[in-house]
Subunit: 578 residues, 2 copies
Amino acid sequence: MRWSQTLIPTMKETPEGAEIPSHVLMLRAGMIHQLMAGAYTYLPLGYRALRKAEQIIRQEMDKAGAVEVHMPALTPIQLWEQTGRVEAFGDVLIKFDVRRQGKKVPMALGPTHEEIVTDLVKKFVSSYRQLPLTLYQIQTKFRNEERPRFGVLRTSEFLMKDAYSFDSTVEGLNANYDRMYAAYCTIFRRCGVDYLAVEAESGPIGGDASHEFMAIADNGEDSVLYDPKSGYAANQERAETGKRTVAKSTVEPKPLTKLHTPGVGSIEAVSKFLKCKPHQMLKTLIYTADDKPLAVLIRGDHEANENKIRRAVGAKKLALADAALVEAITGAPVGFAGPVGLKQPVPIWADDDVAGMANMIIGANEADQHYVGANLERDFQVEKFADLRNATAGDPSPRSDGKLELRHAIEIGHVFKLGTKYSEAMGAKFLDDKEQQHTIIMGCYGIGVNRILASLIETKSDANGVVWPMSIAPYEVIVSSVNAADAEVSAAADKLYGELQAAGVDTLYDDRDQRPGVKFKDADLIGIPLRVVVGGRGLKEGNLELKWRTKEAPEMIPLAGAAEAIAKLVAGERDRYR
Amino acid sequence: MRWSQTLIPTMKETPEGAEIPSHVLMLRAGMIHQLMAGAYTYLPLGYRALRKAEQIIRQEMDKAGAVEVHMPALTPIQLWEQTGRVEAFGDVLIKFDVRRQGKKVPMALGPTHEEIVTDLVKKFVSSYRQLPLTLYQIQTKFRNEERPRFGVLRTSEFLMKDAYSFDSTVEGLNANYDRMYAAYCTIFRRCGVDYLAVEAESGPIGGDASHEFMAIADNGEDSVLYDPKSGYAANQERAETGKRTVAKSTVEPKPLTKLHTPGVGSIEAVSKFLKCKPHQMLKTLIYTADDKPLAVLIRGDHEANENKIRRAVGAKKLALADAALVEAITGAPVGFAGPVGLKQPVPIWADDDVAGMANMIIGANEADQHYVGANLERDFQVEKFADLRNATAGDPSPRSDGKLELRHAIEIGHVFKLGTKYSEAMGAKFLDDKEQQHTIIMGCYGIGVNRILASLIETKSDANGVVWPMSIAPYEVIVSSVNAADAEVSAAADKLYGELQAAGVDTLYDDRDQRPGVKFKDADLIGIPLRVVVGGRGLKEGNLELKWRTKEAPEMIPLAGAAEAIAKLVAGERDRYR
């Protein structure tokens, strides 16, 4: 493609409102343009990169035995009501009525397609003979973002690869899950992304087991705990900690003293008011576990982890108690709960770290009152200690004697063992070889295609611009003519461009009549892996200048046979991403 | 792909509610599934065919110098308000508010992208040096259908290729238009569609000149007038007629007589009430042409053509008069207008055919009254005769001494010279080489990708099912094993399948343990061009059976070297669609 015939609106300045490198550089490199908050047009360079990622995903899905389909974006609201997800998604689900023959027809734009695909399979699959089956699509999804931001990382419309597996046995699901997991590893490797597969909670989509594929990036919104020693990695919501051996405090116990703390309920407010640190304070959280009340104690600087609590107490359902229940149990409004002097006796569980605390600051179960100098055993009893909080940096690894590190990351993929959550709700069943009916067992597998581009830029760009891997680069080679107005130069460049195209090299030809400095800066900014300069003294001497985007120094090669030599270099680099 | 690993839910029976062959066969061949009225899931076979059409379109667009982009489906309502198309589209435009941070944000789903692309180009193009530029996308479009029907022919969500050209001169637009026209001819030829490029009115999108690409099909909703002698073809709305030499009637004039026709206003009602034929009646239509009133006379069995009327009288704007104006001019409610005794004198124009009428039945400009026996000159005068009606079958051709034939057709593509309609409304301008500002000149070019499939099936299927051209067929070859449970058969079939895949032949392997009759019927139904049967006596004799979908008789070829022979046959057939 000739630069003069396409649309690559590069910019010198950092665009207003863009904060992170991927957003800044995608705008500056002329890859995207914001149509409105949360919706971007992909310009020619951006769309080429996106389609290359899409094509790698498609190839690996096909190899993994998944079959491509395409479901509508317009979906009937009834299917979402059937699984309770109209409420679960809330304002994220874009829903509306269309008018047909004087009637209103309620619809929603698909934010994901579990309901739709389960309904489809329910209609066409009835026997174990038709299973296993894995369907996928690469399709635009719609999720209203309360605050769209970070360029293409958080938008209301995005390209997603979503796959769904259907099995008659748990072993089948496990095999499908492993196959998808392996395909994901191949996809991200081929896209040149440095990824980490981390254990994850399954979140609102539900199910039994899941992994997230994360690109480790400083500007990522997700937090991952990683043990370099064992390779253990997990989403912060999910991460275990190794057994914390917490020594009992040897500090001299102080007397338990009640203090007036008017209108001061949160950890932050109390620590400000009493001039103490959050880790000296104790949070007392009242939950209902399978509808029975429970108090959970967590050190003030830690975050309770509801999944860990639910699993520790062996409950199916765990929820924070409402204000009325908190008041009934503590005798005080929310914000002043503490383990000393509860109105109603409830089981008290504590996170392991609480065992090492002394002279704690706790709520006094009275409005506007706190205790200082609270101590375990002397002032209150704990029924059981366990790992009940989010892991954090410095925690012992659950898999080695090392420590966990906290990393920021961008979620680019997610694999779930759904089990029968959707097939049960929607009645998708099959008959086994004895004519017995069972519920189909499902998995689901997503990739955010746009995020592959953004995470590559977040992690691989440099001060001069984007640095694409050969597999995703919108063009593999850029031919820049120096002094394009010179007939000899443009003839040589035209010829090379033609030869490279004929050799199957994806070539961008910067044929603009611009100063070399402008052309070289633009070539660096848009990140094409290999730059070929035609012109100047080199050309007079029968040479071309080659420069890899990742290297400082250029090299000269003879003009004769240049296209063949360049094609060979490109092929070698392509091989790294096969 | 093995049949057992994909999802091809063929059906024996004609599904309920499906009326036309493309709808029936796409359902029966397991290509599509209706999620709700107007929204279809593309199942594996359907999606493969759709993607093949998409890929041909992409290749030809790239060759024609168009550059691919991707605009969002979510669009800000403001852009549609700027051009008045919120009203023009009415209920067809799917619009809604999303909630963000407590505020409502109004949006519309793009039914087409003139506004969006013009806004984009306005932001990035400012100089003649950046022109010409042609952008295209292949993207899901949303248009609410009042009554979705005919399978994928009329849906609320569909795949469209839309391209937009931007030029600094009219010559540039003409060159771009011609290039796109030629690309469309190549695309439809490569897709195997028998198409006709017909002259068309530009309709609500507006502009100066346009052609529609039509697949001639009995079930098409469009009407085309075609002169086989000259090759002239035009949409019915647009079609000219040759000069109609209308002889004055020689019938004896009857006296003008007023009749009481209570509550009877329409042509149909009057002809029923008076037991006469529509061609004996005269329609009198009151228009405003550039806000001045005008009466137009059309024979009762003909349809007025507003574009012809507008052009004939030399007006910029033409609209039917409202009820108040009709009453002011005729003195009667709508339905009883006639050229005799109008209350206010207005210019009276008549279609050429009116010159040959005698003893006409006309409205009497009085409620519930008609005249019979009305005659030209004696009873009323016509200011001018002209071609003011839709052409119809039997009309003289405007390009030869032949007659026009009426054909039904499916619109599959459309090219428009838009001119400055959108660039003017949205302020998309450029500076010429003398720093003078001008408005960018646009063209737009659409293809309904789903309709390519539907029109192929409408025109090429037979009693046994779909008949795909090699270029669009979801698979090029189907290998059917006869007695798949036989180890020798399945080993031979497995081997052939592997070899065909290695040879780059798109192969579907029907590995099901089903009776040959079922397999052959399914192979015919889904329309794969070449069927290869492995098994039976043939295999024992070292042979395979080949059968083209379009031929009656199979032929035998030796098993040894079969893959190579089949690949050669497929390559030959592919060449027909290059």
